[in-house]
Symmetry: C2
Subunit: 487 residues, 2 copies
C-alpha cells in the first residue's frame, strides 16, 4: 500500500487518507477484528497531521469500516452486512420432521468422527486448551486424596451446598438476587430446561418460543406432547415484545422458553427495556418464563442483565451451566426456579436423583479460588477474536450478499446466504469432503431458514477450520452462481 | 446351656438334642446367620454319636432353624417368619398423594442430616468403605494426568465406547447377549428407566407395574401423564405371570416396568420359568418390557438371569447402574434397549446430552483391570451378613408375628408388622429420635402397606445402626401392644 498521498488530488487530505485505508481494509490488508494502527502512527506513516488522521478515522467509522473501543483504540469492523429481519409468528406442531432428526444424527456422527472438521456445532468435542483443565485436574486430584468418601457416597438434590452458594454469588454479579436454597444443580443446561418445562407444563399445553431456536428444543417439546408457537424474533433484538404481549393477552401460551442474551443460534440479545417489559408481562399474566442463560457469562463487553433480574414474583426460571465456560465434560448446570423451586427439586429427584459431588465440589473450589473471572476474560477475548476472524473469512469467501448477525458475546452467529440455495444440500455436499455444517432448517419446526447456517467459533482457530469455512463459501458460490466477496 | 442330655427322658436322643439346640437358637445364644457348630464338635460337646447329631440337625433343618450350605456346613437361619402373600391387581391413578411426596421429602431431608440414623433408605450418603474409592481415585488421577483433554471436551451419546464394551462383556456373564452399539450410557438407573418410558409411552398410556414398587416410580409416571395398573406381586416369586398374561390378552397395558431380580422393595426374584414366560409374552404381544436390573450383580449365590436373557425380538429394555456396586457418586448407568436403542439415544441427546467421559473412562478402566469381580464378591458377602444380622435384630426386638422377605441378594428387604400399626405414624414418632424409616405406604400408589417397612442394609453395620433398628422394634411393640421376640 503506498504510504504517500497524492498532492495533485483536490479532495481534502483526510478524505484521501480514509479512501486509501478503506481500500486496504477491503483488500484484507488488515484482518477483520484486528487493531487498527494508532492515530499517531498513521500520522507518521503518511506524514500528515494528527487532526487529519482523526478526521479520516471518523469518516471510516461513519462508513462502518472501523470502530472505536474505549481506552483501546480503533478496530477493523466485520465487513459482513448485518442481518436484520423479523419473522411472523405462527403456531406449528412441535413434532420434528423425521429428516430433521436424521440430519441431527448425521451431524452428531460427523462431530464424533476425527476425520471431520466441524464449523457449526457448538460442542467442543475436540482436544482444546480453552478450558482450565490442568487447574481443575489438580483440584480434583486433591479432593480425591483429602475426601475419598466423595466417591463412595452420594448427595441428594438440591446438590452441593458449596457449589450452590458460589452460583448464588455469581448470579448476583449478573444482577440476579437468588439464594442457594432456590438453586438446584442439574446435568447441564438442557437438563435444567427440561426440568423447568416438566415443572410448568403438561401434555397438550402450548409453549411460545423464538424462531430460530436451539435444535433439540422442538423434538424435546414434541416428546412431551407439547405444541409450540413460534414468536417473531428479530435477528438483532431477539423476541418481539409486542408479539409476546399479544399472545399473553389472548391466553394462547401456557409458558415461554427463550434465550434473551446471546441467543442460540442468532447470537442476538434483547435490549434492556424489552427484558424489563418481558419480566413485567410474565409476572402480570402469571405465565412461567424459562430463561436459557447458557452463555450468560460470555459477553464481550459489559454485563448483559438477565430477564430474571427484573422478576418480581418468581415467574422466571433461570437456567445455565458451566459446560460452555469451564468444564464441558462435567456437564454441571443449574436452575434458579423462583416459585417453582420445590417442584423442580422433586422432579430432579425423580428423574435422575443427583449430580456427582466430586465434580460439583471441584467446580465450587475453582470458583472460590481458581481465578474464574480471569479465565472468563481470556475465554471471551478468544471467542471474540475467533468470531471476528470467522466473519472476515466469510466476507471474503462467501457469495456476495451474505449477511450475518454480530453477537455481543458467546461463540455462535447466524449467516444467511443470498440467491437460491438449500443449506441442507450444501451440508450434504460438504460431508463428502469431511466438513460438517448445521443448516438453518434444524432451528425451526416449520422448516424455514433453508438459506441459513449457524456458525460456531468454539474451536481452536486453526488452518483446518479456516479451510473448511472458506471451502463452504466457495461451494456456496458454486451452488448459487454468485461470486465471492463484498459488494 | 447345659451340655448333657437327660437320660431319664424317653424321647429319642436326637430329638432331645434338637430341642436343646432350638432353645439356644431361640434365646439368641447363636446369632442369626452365624455358622452353627460342626457335627463333630456337637457330638463331642454332648457326648453323643455322630449319627445322633446328624439326625438332630436334619430335624432342626426341617423346622427352619438352620440351613445347610454346600461345602460350608450349617448356618443359623433368619428367624423371622417368611412373608408370603399375593396382591390383587387394580388400576389406579399414578398421581401420588401430596402426603406421599411430602413424606419422601422428609425422608430425604433426614437422610442428609448427619444427626439422623437411616435404616431404610438405599442411599449410601454416609462415609463408607464399601466401595473401592482409593482405587477409583488412583485411576482417575492417572487419567487426569495422561488425558487432560477429557475435562475440556465432551462425548455425545451413546457415550464412552470403552465403557459400553465393558458393559456388553459383563452383560454376557448375566446371560444377555448385547452389543456395545445397543448400549446407551445414562445418568444412573433412574435416568435409564425414564428414557425407556419416554421411548415407548405417551401421555394417557397405561403402564403395568409391581406393587409394591420403587417409591419414585409413581410420581415419575404421574408426571408423564401415565396411568398405572398394579400387577399382583408375590413377596417371594414376584410378578404374577398369570396376571400379566391376562392383562396382555385384554390389551389393558401399553408397557410393563418391573424388577424381576432382587426386587426393590421386596427383595424377591422371579423363578426362571416365569422369567422365560414373561419374555415370551411381551415378544408375542409386542409390548415393551422395561427391566430394572439395578441389583443384577448383587446376588449372594448363583447368577440370577435377567428376563432380557430370553428376549428374542428386542422387546425387553434392560436398565442398570454402577451406583449400587462401584461408585455411588458417579451415577453412571446404562440401558440396553433392544429395538428401541435408537429412540433411546435420541432422547438421551435431547434430555441431557452426555455423561462425563472422565467418570465413564474411570469406571471402564476399573472394569478392565481393577478387580471388579473380587470387589463384588466382598460386597455381596458384606450385604449378606448385614441382612442376616438385621433380620436377627428384628426377630429379637420387633413384635411377635413380624414377617420378612428373604432376598437372594441386594441389600433391601421388606418387613410387615402384626396388629394395628401405621408405619407412617411409627416413622413420625421415630423422627423425633433422629431415626429415619421408609414406611410401606411410599411403595404403592393405592396407599396400602400401612403396616410395612422397607429395611436397607447398605450401611456399615455399627452400634448406631443396630440401636436404631432395635429401637424401631421396641417402639412398634409399644404401639401395637404386642411383645417382642419370636412365637
Amino acid at each position: 500500500m503506498p504510504t504517500t498521498l497524492d498532492l495533485q488530488d483536490n479532495r481534502p487530505l483526510y478524505y484521501q487518507l480514509s479512501e486509501k485505508l478503506a481500500h486496504a481494509i477491503q483488500t484484507h490488508v488488515f484482518k477483520a477484528g484486528a487493531r487498527f494502527p494508532s492515530v499517531r502512527r498513521t500520522a507518521k506513516t503518511y506524514s500528515v497531521s494528527i487532526n487529519t488522521v482523526i478526521a479520516a478515522y471518523r469518516h471510516l467509522e461513519d462508513q462502518g469500516f472501523i470502530e472505536a473501543r474505549p481506552q483501546s483504540g480503533f478496530y477493523i469492523r466485520n465487513q459482513l452486512p448485518k442481518l436484520e429481519h423479523t419473522l411472523t409468528s405462527h403456531s406449528v406442531s412441535a413434532a420434528p420432521k423425521p429428516n430433521v432428526l436424521r440430519l441431527i444424527d448425521t451431524t452428531f456422527a460427523a462431530q464424533q468422527n476425527p476425520e471431520f472438521t466441524n464449523i457449526s456445532l457448538a460442542c467442543p468435542t475436540q482436544d482444546s486448551d480453552f478450558y482450565p483443565r490442568e487447574k481443575l485436574g489438580k483440584i480434583m486430584t486433591q479432593l480425591l486424596r483429602q475426601q475419598p468418601q466423595l466417591v463412595g457416597s452420594y448427595a441428594l438434590p438440591p446438590g452441593s451446598l458449596n457449589l450452590r452458594q458460589q452460583i448464588a454469588r455469581r448470579m448476583l454479579d449478573l444482577g440476579i438476587v437468588t439464594d442457594a436454597n432456590e438453586v438446584t444443580i442439574t446435568h447441564g443446561c438442557v437438563d435444567a430446561l427440561h426440568l423447568a418445562l416438566r415443572a410448568v407444563t403438561k401434555a397438550g399445553d402450548c409453549v411460545g418460543l423464538e424462531s430460530p431456536t436451539y435444535f433439540y428444543l422442538m423434538p424435546l417439546l414434541a416428546s412431551m406432547g407439547l405444541t409450540v408457537l413460534e414468536i417473531p424474533t428479530h435477528a438483532e433484538t431477539g423476541l418481539s415484545i409486542e408479539a409476546v404481549e399479544m399472545l399473553l393477552e389472548q391466553k394462547r401460551i401456557q409458558a415461554i422458553i427463550c434465550m434473551p442474551n446471546l441467543h442460540n443460534p442468532l447470537g442476538c440479545s434483547m435490549p434492556l427495556a424489552a427484558k424489563k417489559r418481558l419480566a413485567q408481562l410474565v409476572n402480570q399474566y402469571e405465565i412461567p418464563l424459562i430463561e436459557d442463560g447458557l452463555y450468560c457469562e460470555l459477553q464481550f463487553d459489559q454485563v448483559l442483565p438477565a430477564v430474571k433480574t427484573f422478576d418480581k414474583h418468581g415467574w422466571v426460571m433461570f437456567c445455565s451451566s458451566f459446560t460452555k465456560t469451564l468444564a464441558p465434560d462435567f456437564r454441571i448446570g443449574w436452575i434458579s426456579a423462583g416459585r417453582f423451586s420445590q417442584s423442580v427439586q422433586q422432579l430432579k429427584n425423580m428423574l435422575s436423583v443427583a449430580e456427582s459431588q466430586l465434580l460439583c465440589e471441584t467446580i465450587a473450589q475453582f470458583l472460590a479460588v481458581g481465578g474464574y473471572d480471569h479465565h472468563l476474560r481470556k475465554l471471551r477475548k478468544r471467542y471474540s477474536e475467533n468470531m471476528n476472524q470467522a466473519q472476515a473469512i466469510i466476507a471474503q469467501h462467501f457469495p456476495k450478499g451474505t449477511c450475518a448477525t454480530k453477537p455481543q458475546g458467546g461463540f455462535v452467529f447466524w449467516v444467511e446466504l443470498p440467491g437460491k440455495i438449500d443449506t441442507v444440500e450444501l451440508h450434504q455436499q460438504l460431508l463428502k469432503e469431511h466438513i460438517c455444517l448445521t443448516p438453518g432448517m434444524l432451528y425451526s419446526p416449520s422448516g424455514r431458514f433453508s438459506n441459513a447456517l449457524r456458525i460456531s467459533c468454539c474451536y481452536p482457530f486453526n488452518e483446518q477450520y479456516k479451510y473448511a469455512l472458506a471451502r463452504t463459501g466457495s461451494k456456496a458460490c458454486e451452488m448459487t452462481g454468485i461470486s465471492a466477496g463484498l459488494n
